[in-house]
Symmetry: D2
Subunit: 341 residues, 4 copies
């Protein structure tokens, strides 16, 4: 069975595991105060060219979105997201649980359009009853998006400009950030993200780690008492080393970027193979997720040899499925998939 179900099928990258093993018996202080967390933070600040940045490590994506959004917002504020955004759909109401409305604007292949955002904020400002509505305080985007597409630098700058114009902040969900930065379409690097976002995170769970997301407040603008808030939300690990060691390894010798690049290259081959065989892409994603329209009649056969994710119905006779690659995807598996196609 070829595994293309998702990008979190294996444990951690062997180099990461090696680092965890090598440091296992060291006696370290808890709660993220150990030297590996410090090292990892230093490396991330260097990679993102934000020397003043504050870096925190959390365990998972929904947790990170919940804590960052809740601490960046005032209690009377809401977050704006694409209607296809992860926080809008697949996080079990974690944002609302923390008291904030998710205001949704239409997603365009997963992306939030500056024009939609600007219109919303302009109309909100002009609405005489806006005191009776949640106050927009933050824009949430995913880079790459849930559909594998990427914002261009110009698009991100335009969102930033609009946020500035209306005095609200910008948060980038980077659960798969590396795949977005290393794809052929990418015209920005980590430093651009750090320059343009008020906060972002670098996803580890889907890119080499067994768990862990690195939250960056690039201007040293972490919400006050952030550690206490993390604890209050149940997100503080006693053995913070688990996250520090992993991210330190990922940000040594460009490992994080290399393994993301690998995954993107594997995906590009699969995409080419699919197009060669006449399959239709649902979204033309340049990153590690491929969304392809598959005839229902052929799905059973596929499922016998390839493990994929059901995405949604395309029409009465076809289904959108997702094939995902990761650092663990082998050339051999891609070649076998080609044969099957």
């Amino acid at each position: 069975m070829l595994f293309f179900t998702n990008d979190y099928g294996e444990g951690m990258h062997p180099i990461v595991l090696k680092a965890l093993t090598a440091t296992n018996m060291e006696q370290l202080p808890g709660y993220g105060t150990d030297r590996y967390c410090r090292e990892a933070a230093d490396k991330i600040r260097a990679a993102a060219k934000c020397p003043k940045g504050e870096v925190y490590f959390l365990a998972g994506g929904t947790q990170t979105n919940q804590i960052v959004i809740d601490t960046m917002l005032q209690p009377y504020e809401a977050v704006i997201a694409a209607d296809t955004g992860h926080i809008s759909v697949h996080e079990a109401g974690a944002i609302e649980y923390s008291g904030h409305k998710v205001i949704t604007l239409p997603g365009h292949e997963g992306k939030l359009k500056t024009a939609d955002l600007a219109r919303y904020l302009r109309e909100f400002g002009a609405d005489a009853s806006s005191d009776h509505m949640p106050q927009p305080g933050l824009v949430y985007i995913s880079q790459p998006t849930e559909y594998g597409t990427v914002y261009t630098k110009a698009e991100l700058e335009a969102l930033r400009y609009t946020c500035n114009a209306y005095g609200i902040r910008l948060f980038v969900d980077g659960a798969r950030l590396g795949y977005g930065l290393m794809c052929d379409e990418a015209d920005m690097d980590l430093a651009d993200v750090a320059r343009l976002a008020d906060a972002f995170y670098i996803g580890g769970t889907k890119a080499g780690a067994i768990c862990g997301e690195a939250v960056v407040f690039p201007q040293g603008n972490a919400p006050k008492h952030f550690l206490t808030s993390v604890k209050q939300h149940g997100g503080l690990l006693a053995k913070g080393r688990l996250l520090g060691v992993q991210f330190s390894a990922l940000f040594t010798d460009n490992l994080y970027f290399q393994i993301c690049r690998h995954a993107v290259e594997m995906a590009a081959q699969i995409k080419e193979d699919l197009l060669d065989k006449g399959y239709r892409l649902y979204v033309d994603s340049p990153t590690n997720q491929i969304f392809v329209v598959w005839p229902d009649s052929a799905l059973g056969e596929l499922a016998r040899v390839v493990s994929y994710s059901y995405w949604e119905k395309y029409d009465k006779k076809n289904t959108v499925i997702r094939l995902a690659t990761s650092w663990a995807t082998t050339q051999k598996a891609v070649d076998q998939l080609k044969k099957i196609l």
Copy 2:
């Protein structure tokens, strides 16, 4: 430097690490649906003799307390705890963040007394204004307590009886459960805990795992849609395997109990050494934490060779410090400490 600061100084037990390494490249489904989570749950049900039990794995103690208490309570209900209970003091208001009051009763060396509980519940029931107060819905105790003491089986049965009499539930925080079950004073086993509690958890972080707590609802009485609630609280790991693999290893060949027993024996030696040398114990804990009164004048000297935890001021000239052992404490370290004493 001898490390007796806490019981979470090292990573994970070598056997646990080995299991994580061995399974690292397996492609597994996410969110706790993998076979290691199932295996671990089976082993825990067997060890706790609760075949109908439902077992969930979470990452840390505060998270577990928050999620279990919040899901077991109705929103208008409060939890009762000793005033020294972990949820009352050291969890950054995580319980209140989820909307519930922690009603505190006096702790007696960390323990909640049945008499205090019964009096509180009786007076609450008789109070004409009780509709205007949070409704007590759950009793929280730690076994062993934050002071290393253990409830006897009779004490736990009495608490259970009182809970039944007033129609409320009982939750046992077992962050260090193994140490409590394996100490010389222990007169109960895991099955007794499963029989007497409506929910409890088996702490991994402080007993062999790098992270992870196993929550057990022994009567198959997990709150409805518990997985969704876990996600909503930000506690669901994509790679649930991290927890399943560790707990499966810990509950193979009695590893969990053996390593806890080891820690307790190391602590017993230290306690004996301390008493031999005329030190005064602040609390006579039979588990892996030793609370000892230390002259302030000698603390500096100690700190140069031994790493310990400051606990609280005892009087003007003395301080209570904590020495903790774990699975990783060596006989050699204990012998060296003896020499130092």
Copy 3:
């Protein structure tokens, strides 16, 4: 200046004020336990033909929506509403503040369509990742809607049927319920609402009272410890009599229905006058709110003599304005408005 801005411009209906005055010096027990609250509840149960119904009095609409929805839902559940629903737009995130997502479906002149609801629930049930999403637990509708339109009995029955089919509940926001029940289009009475909804409220603030909404759980199905929850949400008035006396007066001799009928008749005259003069209705509302398209060029002139509500831009040259009537609208004012038109 003719006042058609809204239906809450004056204080309370003179008969209600008279009742408040007559009972002012009586010494009554607090928190809704007085005899006027009991009387009012009895009269409402009789009017709604739900002898087992439980009736509670709250102060305002947003408060009522928040408390009823929060207490009817489990914490992991969400409420479904039309995207134009009051809770979706104009309640400052009060529902999300209490932890619940508002799932929005398209409104059709303010109404939720059964077909949309059934499709949503069917697809939700079929979605393999639905555990990672807020669980739909309640449908919220307004009768009449925010656009003054009314659900027919058949429509309400269809919604009820769909709710039953998917095991979720139905809540009717009746902030203007009387106007809906007394309009010419109405084909149901209060007993029908009580029969079809799991909970509803009868709005007083917009129909004769100075404040107050009567919440009805028609099957005696009030959430457990509802009074404690009301207090916990800050909604319990010490002098509950303020609400009981008013509702008792409103439900004596059909006052509530008569004054709503009066308002509807006034609105019908205005609508006829508008249509006679060639104005275009934005929505053809049969209740006490009239939404009419007005040329921008003529708005200034209107504003000098008539007070109305701006609703939204219709197109570049026209605006939708709202004219509202109430129990306090006089025939004389309507006649004057006719002359102005």
Copy 4:
């Protein structure tokens, strides 16, 4: 039956009712934007000598405490109160519902001692694990307290000084403020309260109004978007006039102070009568609440002619009962009570 149960037995003071009646048919804008709310705010600013003060009107005490505390605190902060404070005991967990812990210090006849507060804050600051605890952000006191006692100006200044020293704020619950300011022991006036508190409220419900509390942020320091937060908490009345008209009347010609003075004088007479007859006071309250120890054997007889509040058991043979006076207490009733004694 003589009514001494509480101070909220009647509706509103006749002058207040007259004002409500006189303005009833005026057409006014909603949500507290009407001219009576403005007038009332002006009068309160003048009475409190805080020209920059911001004044908001809410409906009840628990609602006010919840909204003010929640908006003054950051989400990771807690409020400090006496363990007998209203928010600690009788508000159904409303503070915890909004996410904040109530840290309790021992009450001394209802009062928080500066020494206790300073010690708590000093030890908190010195605690190495304080990052893992809720951050104290606000001190809550009641003036007068739940036991009818009053803080002296020196005590309030000392609390203020301590708050300043630790960078936290001070909030005064004035549900019965007028009784505290008008008692013989009082050595401060409303302007002192405004000078020393970061926020306070002037209770209407228990002093002449049928509902309503006036919140004052004396330095113009209302939390940002306070109105939106009030709406979000369900506390915004459409017909804000109900509160504005009442407070405008109460703060015209010193009515508020006069009626509170009257109640205090009635209570003083009763207290004298009780002491004359040899009854023992439980607390020597100088305000409108009298806490007296009553032999259980004589309670039944008393209950036949006097309505009082049960407070708590004093010992096996005696009970503490409360007698309360208000603006509505007549000299005749006090004389009759004297005869009964």
